[in-house]
Point group: C2
Chain length 402, copies 2
């Protein structure tokens, strides 16, 4: 497997396009993107667990009930959640895409991101979607169009082999605020030319989302609109993957590379973030316990603010573990901080160590820092991703609507 260029257009037979159609107030920012496969795809998706689900989520679930899709339409600027005419407008958005791309409306995945509670300007989509230029090497423009408070375009693609055949898989995503376990306003679209059944795709996507996207936390809020959709058009020509085995494993490895890379990019681009914070917990009683502890650490406002200040305040790490509700022996905790500048142990057996504050500061001043917690309960180990809490987070969210 190797990393390649091309994002959602890296796989054979996928076109993308984007434009400004007028949903956003901005006169320059693109607000509509589409992705189209040359032929029908097997499709799988995972969705937000928020009880309040946006209309496009409900509609996409309906459309993917048969495991088939051909196109994606995504708008930014309006979430079409808790909004008047929500389902009606989501259907009109799907129909507009279907007309523009010459496919069936039932084969269109619809996703929206932006402000909640306002009527979607679906007329703008209907008026302009037909004039969108769809091209085979156009992933970047689509990745840009789905950004909201994101500061960086998020894209990745890989080449891998299944059954001796070269396949490609690539993805784009957006997400920077409202990110939490169980998919906070995160939209991710992954395409592949590998042939695989919808059932196997769904299984792989669920498993990978659980250990990548669902282990990202930025601010503890989970959005109404999150979705990760995966389309496979089979154009690579491999024998269709219909069960576990070497080919399925290769597919999963490719998917893991894509989802972990996008998850890290989302965490590192958390609203206002100045650094990516990785938290690894090992030696926990089991994976569930490890995850609960790691997420509690990554979600703690106090830990996040300390990371912003490059302050080796490990007491807050222990404190966050303590209120997580997960059982562990408080007398057996080791905490280390690490980055490319090195690593430093700050707590052993639940007690503070004398450590070099200058070295700790240098380690924590990097753009990627890691909190490593080791317990002595068992073999449970996980890695979660988050970011620091900064002035800019407050600024961005103090008046998002204006």
């Amino acid at each position: 497997m190797k990393i390649i260029e091309g994002g959602v257009c890296a796989a054979k037979g996928f076109k993308a396009g984007a434009m400004r159609c007028g949903i956003r107030k901005s006169q320059t920012k693109k607000d509509l993107a589409m992705i189209l496969s040359d032929c029908e795809c097997n499709a799988a998706a995972v969705y937000t667990t928020n009880r309040v689900k946006a209309a496009p989520i409900l509609l996409t679930k309906e459309h993917l009930a048969n495991g088939k899709a051909r196109a994606v339409i995504v708008n930014s600027g309006n979430a079409n959640a808790c909004a008047p005419f929500g389902m009606e407008n989501a259907r009109r958005e799907a129909a507009a895409a279907a007309r523009a791309l010459g496919v069936e409306a039932e084969d269109v995945i619809v996703a929206s991101t932006g402000v909640i509670g306002q009527t979607l300007n679906v007329e703008a989509i209907e008026e302009h979607a037909g004039s969108m230029e769809m091209k085979y090497d156009n992933s970047m423009t689509a990745a840009e169009a789905i950004m909201t408070t994101d500061t960086k375009v998020k894209t990745i693609a890989v080449e891998f082999e299944a059954g001796g055949t070269v396949c490609h898989m690539g993805g784009i995503c957006k997400g920077s605020g409202m990110i939490h376990p169980n998919m906070g306003t995160m939209l991710a679209f992954i395409t592949t030319d590998c042939a695989i059944t919808a059932e196997q795709m769904q299984k792989a996507l669920l498993d990978e989302a659980r250990i990548t996207f669902n282990r990202v936390t930025v601010d503890g809020d989970t959005s109404t609109n999150d979705m990760c959709a995966l389309l496979a058009n089979g154009m690579a020509g491999n024998a269709e993957i219909a069960a576990e085995g070497a080919d399925y494993t290769a597919f999963r490895e490719a998917l893991h590379t894509i989802t972990e890379d996008l998850a890290r990019k989302i965490a590192g681009d958390g609203e206002g973030a100045s650094k990516l914070m990785t938290c690894s917990v090992s030696g926990a009683a089991d994976e569930e316990t490890a995850e609960r502890l790691a997420k509690s650490i990554c979600s703690s406002s106090l830990v996040k603010a300390a990371m912003f200040g490059s302050d080796a305040n490990w007491g807050r790490v222990l404190c966050a573990m303590g209120y997580s509700g997960a059982p562990f022996d408080t007398e057996a905790v080791t905490v280390e901080f690490a980055s490319k500048e090195g690593r430093i142990a700050v707590c052993e057996q639940g007690r503070g160590l004398d450590f070099d504050e200058n070295l700790a500061k240098r380690i924590l001043s990097q753009e990627e820092v890691e909190i490593r917690v080791t317990l002595k309960e068992g073999g449970g180990a996980v890695t979660c991703w988050g970011c620091d809490l900064t002035y800019d987070y407050v600024k961005i969210n103090g008046d998002y609507r204006s």
Copy 2:
């Protein structure tokens, strides 16, 4: 019942004192306080639920096992949590208070607040506690000494009648960061001259803490050191309250006034807070559901940041309700914002209303704002308190240790 002056010295027979003994680096900030009753008290307390418990919490539990106490010693500047020699130093702190005040060490409540993981400078306490001046009208100085990042002194007292006898009750507390359901670094000390059994006190304190202190949330972190202790010396001379009835009810009302007032003061003085945010949820299926929803709203970084910006972004309120895990009909939600400037409905039946943005801005620009959520499930209703998320929260917590 009426509000009076005097804090923890409002009740007969309670002295207080405070000093700078040298635990903090600051050359001016007081860091040690004591409270002393002229005679033995019945005592009750509630503690943090954090799995990582500071040594003074463990020691105080031990000392209050018999329901009796006479004095309180509190230091700020060091939490004595996850610290070397934790239990040993907590015991030495109790012994120092006992020597200074002429009481038994087992009758001393010990509380600490400050940085985690560093050895408590107990020698400074041992050296200086004996010279602390204890006075009958000295609550304010004790209230000041227990402050950490608090910006306001928090104190309240009331006069009430039990069995025809005038009684007094007063409290001081500290708390501004790491405040969350289940007592985040909050220390509260309440004294009364009312005669009441330890059992009845404990019951009343548990019930009141549940609906006041435990409904405050500032940043979702729960501290290792939280404690609320209640001392009753019986010097008012009323017939001892030993069961439910009119006297118990009067006692609970007084206690409710004290704890609710202190809870609101803690929320309004949350780290960096510019305003007190009250969230009322009514019409929920039951009280537990209402509480879960209200706390989810109060804890949401996005809601808190919107309140900072006086932005009527009610979609975030619905979103926070949605990920709370509590069941409710999303189509039956009404959201209003209110303050002394008036009230405004922004969402009905789960859908946005057209509303006057200028009026909403004016309402939310006040120092006390309320989010009112009404459901149609049943009779569950609660009020929770929190604060906005500001630049100053990040600043305060970015480098707390220095």
